[in-house]
């Protein structure tokens, strides 16, 4: 990130404990508008916890989160949504008994973060959900429900999108289309923090990555550099780095 660009998101020394377990232990990073940052690491390294704290689902135990120049740690989730932060969930969480259209209508009505109103029909069409628009979300398969999570987040016009394992369950063609969509959104100025295990997806979508291990940051840089880093290879990639 260029030093003269004001970061959209600043995470400083973020801590989160569950009893005696330190899920986040002093994690810090910056994110500029339109930048896509990958958050990778082994299971239990704190990736989802990091998203949960930034999105207000968990209260942090230390450090601070600054969005557009203002501290937001401790803010309620619905207020963060209205300020321009939204997210998807590792296990999709649509409103199952509501129709696909109602799922996004609620977000557009209550969580819109300002700017031009979202054309919900166009949004659903862009995510190939338009033909399911009037069906209950419970009729969708798991991958479609994840896409609906994304649609609901996008219906709020976020400036920061937190994506938690969106690619799992998508077939290769869907993966490519999803990666392309995210790149288009980033090119339009939306910043993203992407948690993902699929390195091919991370490679297509992100500008740089942070590697977490046991709640600590062990690497920050490009994915290509990460695959050559001895610490990253030891705790996360193993032999995959050369596969």
């Amino acid at each position: 990130m260029s030093p003269d660009v004001m970061p959209l998101l600043k995470v400083e020394q973020l801590e989160k404990r569950f009893g005696g377990f330190r899920a986040l232990d002093g994690v810090s990073f910056h994110l500029a508008p339109g930048e896509v940052l990958g958050l990778v690491g082994p299971n239990g390294s704190g990736k989802t916890t990091c998203i949960n704290v930034i999105s207000g689902l968990y209260a942090g135990d230390g450090g601070q989160v600054v969005f557009e120049g203002q501290r937001i740690d401790g803010a309620k989730m619905h207020k963060l949504a209205r300020r321009g932060i939204n997210r998807t969930f590792q296990s999709p969480k649509p409103f199952l008994s509501l129709t696909v259209r109602e799922n996004v209508q609620i977000a557009a009505r209550y969580g819109h973060a300002g700017g031009a109103p979202v054309d919900l029909d166009a949004l659903l069409a862009s995510l190939e959900l338009d033909r399911h628009a009037d069906r209950p979300a419970e009729d969708l398969n798991s991958a479609q429900q994840k896409t609906l999570d994304l649609a609901r987040a996008l219906a709020t016009s976020p400036r920061l999108l937190l994506i938690d394992e969106l690619a799992a369950g998508l077939n290769p063609a869907e993966l490519h289309r999803m990666a392309d969509r995210l790149r288009v959104l980033a090119d339009g100025g939306m910043a993203m923090l992407v948690v993902e295990h699929l390195m091919g997806f991370i490679d297509r979508v992100t500008d740089r990555v942070i590697v977490l291990n046991a709640g600590r940051e062990i690497f920050e840089g490009t994915l290509a550099a990460a695959t050559r880093d001895p610490d990253v290879i030891r705790v996360f990639l193993g032999g995959a780095a050369h596969a």
């Binding site: 619905h78 997210r87 409103f95 609620i106 977000a107 009505r109």
Partner: protein, 314 residues
């Protein structure tokens, strides 16, 4: 496409309003064709209480087993206003409603609980209010366990008309919740409060509004009940039967709909008043069988027979 959606939306609202209007009209004219006004009042009372419970359970998923606490607070609020302030009945109704609202505000921390814990805590809270009201040490204020007599304001026709007006208002509220964005946000909260919050819905605020509306309805019905019967005891106004009937009627018909609780009251309270009085042993058997069958085969209520087939029920 949008026009088609708005036309279908208007049709839905019209269907809901038509059903609500028919029920209110039937209950309004019923005393002129059927002489047992107390029975008719009980029907109106349970129609309203079931819809009041529907507001909090059907739209947010919180099942208040102690719903009678608001009803009792309304009845005693009415009685205290009449006895101590010599308030006219309509003003006393407002006091009863305010008492229920105050109780609801006091109980808002219960929303930290969920499921059975919320239901049981709410039941305990209603019992606590009953214990306070029936305490002999408070005889000078509440008449303690000896009950209240409000014969000076006894006016069954007027109190019946007011109870029908409360029913009308309650049905309109449910129609609005079923067709408004706010109602949609409550259903989102019921489905998944975390997702609802991330969609920008103020979850605590939405739940609290539904909770207060639900309590207000029970408080108004409680006030109308006190006005209608004029003489009652704490165990009457805080009888668990009010909660149980409201819960069973709502679940039997189907929550989050207008039709479900109405069906529940007309069918189950109808059975209760036909065979329940004359042959109570068969009533218990039939009632129990119906409820067991419902839980086993139609957990979403009678209306789910239609909604499962994609048919929209008002």
């Amino acid at each position: 496409m949008r026009d088609a959606r708005s036309v279908s939306g208007l049709r839905r609202v019209f269907g809901d309003l038509l059903l609500a209007g028919v029920v209110v009209a039937v209950m309004a004219v019923a005393p002129s064709v059927y002489s047992n006004q107390l029975l008719l009042f009980n029907f109106v009372m349970f129609l309203t209480l079931s819809q009041g419970l529907n507001v909090i359970y059907g739209f947010t998923g919180y099942l208040p087993f102690g719903y009678v606490g608001f009803f009792g607070a309304g009845a005693y609020g009415f009685a205290l206003a009449v006895m101590h302030l010599h308030a006219p009945p309509l003003a006393a109704m407002a006091v009863g409603a305010a008492a229920a609202l105050v109780l609801a505000v006091i109980l808002t921390p219960l929303f930290r609980l969920s499921g059975a814990y919320f239901a049981i805590a709410n039941l305990a809270a209603a019992q606590a209010v009953y214990e306070i009201v029936s305490n002999p040490a408070l005889e000078d204020i509440t008449k303690g366990p000896y009950g209240v007599s409000l014969s000076g304001v006894f006016a069954p026709e007027t109190s019946y008309a007011v109870s029908v007006a409360i029913l009308a208002g309650t049905l309109l509220l449910v129609v609005w919740l079923r067709n408004s964005r706010f109602g949609l946000s409550l259903r989102a909260i019921k489905e998944d409060p975390i997702s609802a919050a991330m969609a920008g819905v103020a979850v605590v605020r939405g739940r609290t509004i539904a909770w207060l509306c639900s309590a207000l309805i029970a408080g108004l019905v409680g006030g109308a009940f006190a006005w209608q019967i004029s003489v009652f005891y704490p165990e009457t106004a805080f009888s668990a039967q009010f909660s149980i009937f409201a819960v069973v009627f709502t679940l039997f018909g189907g929550a989050a709909t207008l039709t479900g609780p109405l069906l529940g009251v007309f069918i189950l309270y109808g059975i209760y008043n036909t065979i329940g009085i004359t042959v109570p042993q068969y009533f218990q058997l039939i009632y129990g069988t119906l409820i067991v069958a419902l839980v086993l085969f139609l957990p979403n209520g009678l209306v789910s027979l239609l909604t499962k087939r994609g048919i929209r029920v008002p």
